[in-house]
């Protein structure tokens, strides 16, 4: 069964910070949204939860690129996560969830699963 999804509006362009991330709350829990104005596309969204600590902090990491791929470094233990795939660069077995993201006029929308059983920070 394919889970039902919707494009949830989470914030506006004014909320974004260039070359950095912000955190939003969605039906699917906390998500980090990054705005990298020098790339195309410029918006990326991954889970806000750092899989190594379990804490919600990834939006507060430093962004950049490694071998051309967009990444964020966890502010706690400094592992890098590919913003396009969610793959951790230091540990092959670790991935964070990636969310499709689009700009709709002035609004940022994320494609998230419609909440069924409440599962916070999953």
């Amino acid at each position: 069964m394919k889970a039902r999804t919707c494009w949830e509006a989470v914030c506006t362009v004014d909320d974004l910070v260039a070359d950095s991330g912000i955190a939003v709350w969605t039906d699917d829990g906390p998500v980090a949204v990054f705005y990298l104005p020098h790339r195309l596309p410029a918006l990326f969204a991954i889970s806000h939860t750092d899989p190594f600590s379990g804490s919600n902090v990834l939006a507060r990491g430093i962004t950049g690129d490694i071998n051309g791929e967009p990444v964020v470094a966890s502010p706690l233990y400094k592992q890098h996560f590919n913003l396009r795939s969610g793959q951790c660069l230091e540990d092959e077995s670790v991935q964070v969830k990636v969310y499709p993201v689009l700009l709709d006029g002035n609004r940022i929308r994320l494609e998230v699963q419609v909440a069924q059983a409440a599962s916070v920070a999953a």
Binding site: A23, V57, I62, L76
Partner: protein, 837 residues
Amino acid sequence: MSKQTLIVIGNGMVGHHFLEQFSQSPAAETYRVIVFGEEKQLAYDRVHLSEYFTGSTHADLAMGTADWYADQGIDLRLNEPVTAIDRNSRVLTTPKGEYTYDQLVLATGSYPFVPPIKGNDQDGCFVYRTLDDLDAIQASAQSAKTGVVVGGGLLGLEAANALKSLGLQAHVVEFAPRLMPVQLDDQGGALLRQKIEDLGVQVHTEKATTAIVPGSDARLRMNFADDSHLETDLIVFSAGIRPQDTLARACGLEVGERGGIVVNNQCTTSDPNIHAIGECALWNNRIFGLVAPGYTMARTLSAALNKDTGAAFTGADMSTKLKLLGVDVGSIGDAHGQTPGARNIRFHDEQAGHYRRMVVSQDGKTLLGAILVGDNGPYDTLLQYALNGIELPANPEALILPESEGGAPALGADALPDTASICSCHNVTKGDISGAIDAGCTDLGGVKAETRASTGCGGCAALLKKVVDSELEKRGVEVCTDLCEHFPYTRQELFHLVKVNGIRTFRGLLKQYGKGQGCDICKPTVGSILATCWNEHILATDHVPLQDTNDTFMANMQKNGTYSIVPRIPGGEITPEKLIVLGEVAREYDLYTKITGGQRVDLFGATLSELPEIWEKLIAAGFETGHAYGKSLRTVKSCVGSTWCRYGVQDSVGMAITLENRYKGLRAPHKVKMAVSGCTRECAEAQSKDFGVIATEKGWNLYVCGNGGMRPRHADLFATDLSDEELIRTIDRVVMFYVRTADRLQRTSVWMENLEGGLEYLKQVVLEDSLGIGEELEQHMADLVDTYQCEWRTAVEDSEKRKRFREFVNAPEQKDPVQRWTSERGQRRPELEAVSS
């Protein structure tokens, strides 16, 4: 093919090391391994036995775990002593049964020698070797006041340390005229004695005990041959070791005249199927009572059992470096100068309590041995000279003189021969390292992975890097000093480019001198450089994405994503009113409160959105940001100084406040700590800081580039008897020179160690202005002082900047569900189980 059986008797440090080596080798596949241990515990670290009395448990001291043995498929049988060996049928007997072996390893160690003194077996007499011995000593010590150790050697002093940590008045009784007679000479022994007596341990030398009888004031009385006596509640014999060769004797193996199982270079006994390693083995008529030679034997035997025909034990260096009761003692090679024609160079500083002796060959070209008491600083360099026969410099005395008197810097990597041991944990030589580089390793990480060098205790890290760099350079490989993949420059070069070209943004620098988008290495580095050069607010739009999270939110992130707050308390001086405000704020937001080592108060557990509210309250009460989050000045610690203290000669608090207010907010390559002491008693511990100031009758002495923490370094005396103005001018110059020339995340201590020309060069630049940049450095500092702003004040007053402090931008009321709390000792703390995987 059915497996053969290898049995190891003895589960001590050497036996365990053998199993570690052997189980990783190809031959492990062809053997079933059984281990018998007499003690009930798994192999543990006997070298650090005295730590058992200061809180370490068997688990802390254990060399391995039962799981490890199970994983290796080793049949571990503890508390099962072997009682007999039948060599003809190759069968062992224990109380529980009989076992057949194909190959047998004796790692039975040694037992303590108890001098044949009448009455040495009564209650209150102990030996010091096993955890059971220690348990017995501890039980007896509970009702005791005094304790005597018989034996003033290495182990005896360890035992004295143990008695002291049990709270006993400790005595050491030694038969010889000095302590550590094997390793030290009279002068060194006398200094060690003085230092140990200063620590409250009584030392009695030239005492031959004739009898132990019941005492009148204490439980026991020791009578000495010179008719004197000593009363004590317990006695620990630690007068040397004897090889544990009982089983070997009983089954007819060849043993030495004075004990020890005779082995050849492959550690095999007179029976080709039986081997012996460690303290029970007698090689070339010698017993090796240190752990390192035992490990070498273990490695040799493992290789020999793998049919490595080249494996051979060829003796071992008995040089030792240790801390006894906190006193450095080192002894290298022919410490007593017994080589014919040997000459001595001695340096004895009674003031500092340092004794150093070098024994050099007749022609003065080779170092034969050395003795160090009080400071082991020169040990590593001296050992390399002695072990490798490196020709001594024309003025060999420089090796043991303090640096300020023309002492020589440490030996360069180039001067070391291929046989020089770089990593003693994994037995890696300089030759192994150059071999790894020839085999394709092109950087430090590769060499570490290939050779395992510097992956044990890590003590050789700096030396390893020097060797790798020099070997790479020799091969024409340019050592890459690029900051990261985005900038082909060092931090120092980037600083220069920013300053000279007036570049004010990261984008601007990237466009002109870099490539790509940047990363978590170059962004904060450039952010720090821009802050030092132009001092714009770290949350200015262009700079926000450059900062580490702690700088971005001007607080220190903790493991659950909340932050801690440290307001500045200059010099550690605070009014009761301000102290009350801190308490009130902490109570209102339920913040866990702790006093820091830098004389201020840390408030933990604030959420992102609470930070600006909390700071509004703190600023209203007159607080400023403490920069605990930044690579910048932390605190200037101080003692109370001449205003209150009867010993103080200057106002240390006043000077600390002046310095803290002057340098606060300055962005540097790493954090910077300072301290000011009001007299030579040094209560502010200034010599462990990046900048330490100590008051004198005439002014201030300045110490630079000290460090506490992981790798402590005493600060170097830089200038003496400075006036207030001279002190500030000197610190201005040193700080700015550090900020301009250091590498990323390089503390002043490491900067100094890597500065070509070292302390003397820094003195020339700063005190004599040899580069002619003194005024420029002072001007730069003055500009920074003039443009200081409290980052938090600016942030809370700016609604745009405050927007950054929203936990979830679309849900202001949403609490972070993983931040769960519990309480401990009356305060809130994170629930540890909050972490999910």
